[in-house]
């Protein structure tokens, strides 16, 4: 049994509940025990770093200090939180930034996608896979902060990342090549400049369809929400038909591992994935 600290972040307690549930679900099946941090608070993204750097550093450091009380690695599923934590780790470790809370930069911070792409976990998954996702063509959508900036994320193939593609292959799915893997969805502009987010989303969805994808896969709550929730509205405006389910990679892991709650997770999506998965004979 592997043990790891867990910082869900605010979205996973709200709009991204199915991400939280599926991470907990697949971790259990893979013999990974998650320890949610006591009294964690918001990491400050996306607003603190835009308006005050000191505040942004302290909000993140408070959580990292809680995590540093144990020797465990810290699992972070939201890429915005992950990016902020890594930025603060860099400040403290490389620039000797002093923070108020007792944090020395010693917690290994693991983004959930990177963590589940570790070789031993992929091996374990191959062994435990009960329903290979054969015939499912997925467009792996990494978005921005999973890979950028590489000096923070450490990802080497940041213009054309491959790790989610490898994970999908391991589940038996067919990751299609497309050129918009790391293009931006507009993130938090959805609240204030919805027009921009819709324009970017139209482009992403259209390009994924042109590449013949059945669905998009992501590990970012913001990308998922932006792409999942506005398809109907966009269809009315552009006259196109998208109907592309936007899935968390952990949901597809759960499906391949035969988790009992997958239907519950999929029910929370605005763009229904169940119909597609039934057509593919996967549900």
């Amino acid at each position: 049994m592997k043990e790891i600290s867990y910082y869900p972040g605010c979205s996973l307690h709200g709009t991204a509940r199915e991400y939280d549930d599926s991470i907990r679900g697949v971790s259990e099946l893979l013999d990974i025990q998650l320890h949610e941090l006591d009294d964690w608070t918001c990491c400050g993204a996306s607003s603190a770093h835009c308006t005050d750097e000191e505040l942004a550093i302290e909000l993140a450091a408070r959580n990292l200090a809680i995590a540093e009380k144990t020797d465990r690695e810290l699992l972070v599923p939201c890429v915005a939180c992950y990016s902020r934590f890594k930025a603060v780790e860099k400040e403290v470790k490389e620039h000797s930034k002093k923070v108020h809370f007792p944090y020395q930069g010693n917690v290994p911070i693991r983004y959930a996608l990177d963590f589940f792409c570790d070789e031993p976990i992929l091996e374990e998954m191959k062994k435990k896979r009960t329903r290979p996702l054969s015939g499912l063509k997925v467009a792996c959508y990494y978005g921005c902060l999973t890979v950028r900036p590489p000096k923070v994320t450490g990802v080497r193939e940041y213009e054309n990342p491959q790790h989610m593609d490898r994970l999908m292959k391991c589940l038996g799915a067919d990751p299609i090549p497309w050129s918009y893997k790391t293009d931006c969805c507009g993130a938090s502009l959805v609240m204030t400049r919805t027009d921009i987010v819709k324009k970017l989303n139209d482009r992403l969805l259209s390009r994924a369809m042109e590449a013949d994808a059945d669905c998009l896969v992501t590990g970012c709550p913001m990308c998922q929400a932006n792409l999942d929730t506005r398809q109907e509205e966009l269809e009315k405006e552009t006259g196109k038909k998208y109907n592309l389910p936007i899935l968390y990679f952990t949901e597809l892991m759960g499906l391949a591992l035969g988790h009992k709650d997958v239907r519950k997770w999929f029910h929370r999506h605005i763009t229904d994935p169940i119909k597609l998965l039934k057509t593919k004979g996967l549900m």
Binding site: S11, D39, T41, T51, E53, R148
Partner: protein, 188 residues
């Protein structure tokens, strides 16, 4: 290495010097290759292109920069930062500019985006975590646009994506401390 011609001295160019110091980025190194603007996904909505913005900073044009739409439209996707041949982290500079713009009291180039950020931070201050429903309602009470996305909100509620009550947490005192430190600094 060749010496850079544009000097960032406090006396000659206070704005350039301020941005260089706060960001730690070598803004003087920009030679206008325009790669940042070419790769920017939201450039079409900006009033000043990213490469132009960097030039304005080099020239010390404080007003133009801090009242631009550009600094608020930037979605922090870091595409410009990774493609800059001079390794200038332009997205980081945008963060610094937004924070300078708020402190300067200048009228922001985008109306709602700074309001959203301030409501977001207020929400962390009072609840420790972001409770999406409270955040949205508070933001709407400031922008008075109650109808926008109401249908989508209802759909999301029915899907169990909207949590009615904020989750409980015990870190309130520490969060207050963080924000108080911040407010003291603001007053200085």
């Amino acid at each position: 290495m060749m010496e850079l011609n544009i000097q960032a001295t406090q006396k000659e160019n206070p704005f350039l010097s301020e941005v260089v110091q706060a960001s730690g980025e070598k803004i003087q190194a920009c030679f206008q290759c325009q790669k940042c603007s070419a790769g920017c996904p939201v450039v079409y909505a900006m009033d000043i292109y990213p490469n132009q913005l960097v030039r304005h900073i080099q020239y010390g044009h404080r007003e133009e920069v801090l009242t631009s739409k550009t600094i608020w439209i930037c979605a922090s996707c870091y595409t410009c930062s990774v493609r800059c041949p001079n390794d200038i982290d332009i997205a980081k500079i945008m963060d610094v500019l937004r924070s300078l713009a708020l402190r300067s009291g200048a009228k922001p180039g985008e109306k709602d985006i700074p309001v959203f950020h301030s409501v977001f931070l207020e929400s962390i201050k009072s609840k420790g975590r972001i409770h999406e429903l409270s955040l949205i309602l508070q933001f709407k009470s400031k922008t008075k646009d109650f109808l926008k996305d109401a249908g989508l909100g209802w759909k999301m509620f029915r899907k169990g994506k909207i949590k009615l009550l904020p989750s409980r947490f015990g870190g309130g005192k520490e969060i207050q401390e963080i924000f108080n430190g911040f407010e003291k600094e603001e007053a200085r």
